[in-house]
């Protein structure tokens, strides 16, 4: 699905990584590890096309990634540090909009997804009144509304409680089992069958 060859990235005159190469196939989960400032987020943003300060080659389903931006955007779901949930809107309004950018979902499906993610009863509360963990869950409901493809998740576990962590782990496992791929950064210890890891930065 995704292939990275000889990827180099320098930021602010500091080398983040050099000669990075990996292949991510359908059905696989790759956890990117590394200390703070080792370039995990940068790597994810490069793959999504949000950062172009790199040299090296990226391939999406065998063809250069840069030449098929539309296909990549359609088959990729990115949830970054900033989770793209507006605080004055309700979870329902947020998801109504974000689903229209890719696969429109009707209100019934959105409410169902919010229920599954543990936000039943909060669909119509403004997001600024939610707790940090609930706020994060609003963005995770997008995982339920999008089909296959590549999930790129940047520190999705940070504010979740233990129940939320299990929930997300199950989502990731099910996505991989159904032929999707997941690229994830986290300091959390993931328990998944067939998990692969990539460590950035020099081990000290």
């Amino acid at each position: 699905m995704l292939e990275v060859r000889a990827l180099n990235c320098e930021r602010n005159d500091r080398l983040l990584f050099r000669d990075l190469a990996f292949i991510l196939e359908a059905g696989q989960v790759l956890q990117v590890k590394g200390g703070n400032g080792s370039g995990k987020t940068t790597l994810l943003r490069i793959i999504c096309g949000l950062n172009d300060s790199y040299s090296g080659e990226l391939f999406w389903h065998g063809a250069p990634l840069g030449e098929q931006r539309d296909a990549v955007c359609a088959g990729l779901l990115y949830i970054g540090h900033r989770v793209a949930v507006n605080r004055v809107l309700t979870p329902l309004e947020n998801l109504r909009w974000s689903s229209r950018l890719h696969h429109p979902a009707d209100d019934g499906r959105i409410r169902e997804a919010l229920g599954q993610i543990g936000l039943a009863g909060y669909e119509d509360s403004p997001c600024h009144s939610l707790s940090a963990g609930q706020y994060q869950r609003v963005s995770l409901a997008r995982l339920l509304l999008r089909g296959g493809g590549l999930w790129v998740l940047d520190e999705p576990f940070t504010t979740l409680d233990t129940h939320g962590v299990t929930l997300l782990e199950n989502l990731v496992r099910r996505h991989a089992e159904s032929g999707g791929a997941v690229l994830i950064t986290t300091h959390h210890k993931l328990v998944l069958p067939g998990l692969r890891t990539l460590t950035l930065g020099v081990a000290e």
């Binding site: 096309g49 990115y78 809107l89 429109p104």
Partner: protein, 227 residues
């Protein structure tokens, strides 16, 4: 799962931005109140003589509109940048310029339109002769979207900067000067008994040009800012 269409994404973005503005009323009210305050200070500060006021009425209203739109622009992409919404816009499978255009329209509807609606009232206060009203409103209808979309490019370029202060005005004001000139000339021409249509046509041409080019430029600027 139904396939997304560009039209649905356009409408959803327009609706979302209008909804956010309705929930954050200060964003609408502040520029509007600012506009009214600036215009109403002129009769007090210069002279309440209607002979004097009618000379400057069109210019005062147009300048106040420009300043008010500077004020409203600051919030255009800021919260979207801060909460990561811009990243999602860039990663949408829909054309970015279309979504940007939807945001521009929403912004004009909440910041430009109220000002235009109230402008005849303020024109009355400044003793603008009746034959100038229609031209004033027409010039504002054609001119304010141009200013808004030019400002949108500047905001997109500077949204990643921590504190941008006056840089936004420094970029936008010079580009807006032709709009100001033709807008006031149109009204003055109508007052002098001539036809304002020539100047309005020029404003219309500027509007057509900005509608076709500004969203593309804004989209490119956003890609740079998010990088």
């Amino acid at each position: 799962m139904s396939q997304a269409s560009a039209g649905a994404a356009f409408l959803a973005t327009l609706k979302r931005d209008l909804l956010i503005s309705l929930k954050r009323r200060n964003d609408i009210l502040n520029p509007f109140m600012f506009f009214i305050i600036v215009v109403s200070l002129f009769p007090i500060g210069i002279s309440p003589e209607s002979a004097m006021l009618r000379q400057i009425a069109a210019g005062v209203i147009w300048i106040a509109v420009l300043l008010a739109s500077m004020l409203s622009m600051d919030s255009l992409y800021r919260s979207d940048y801060e909460d990561g919404t811009l990243e999602q816009l860039l990663l949408s499978s829909m054309p970015l310029y279309l979504l940007v255009f939807a945001k521009n329209i929403a912004h004009w509807l909440v910041s430009g339109l109220p000002v235009i609606v109230v402008s005849p009232l303020l024109a009355y206060m400044l003793a603008l002769p009746a034959e100038g009203y229609l031209t004033l409103v027409a010039s504002l209808l054609l001119g304010t979207p141009v200013v808004g979309m030019l400002g949108s490019i500047a905001v997109a370029l500077t949204v990643g900067l921590g504190s941008r202060g006056l840089i936004l005005a420094v970029i936008t004001v010079p580009m807006s000067v032709p709009v100001l000139i033709f807008g006031t000339l149109a009204v003055q021409n109508a007052l002098a008994g001539g036809s304002p249509l020539g100047y309005l046509a020029l404003l219309g041409a500027m509007l057509a040009l900005t509608i076709s080019l500004a969203p593309v430029a804004t989209a490119a600027a956003l890609r740079i800012s998010v990088n």
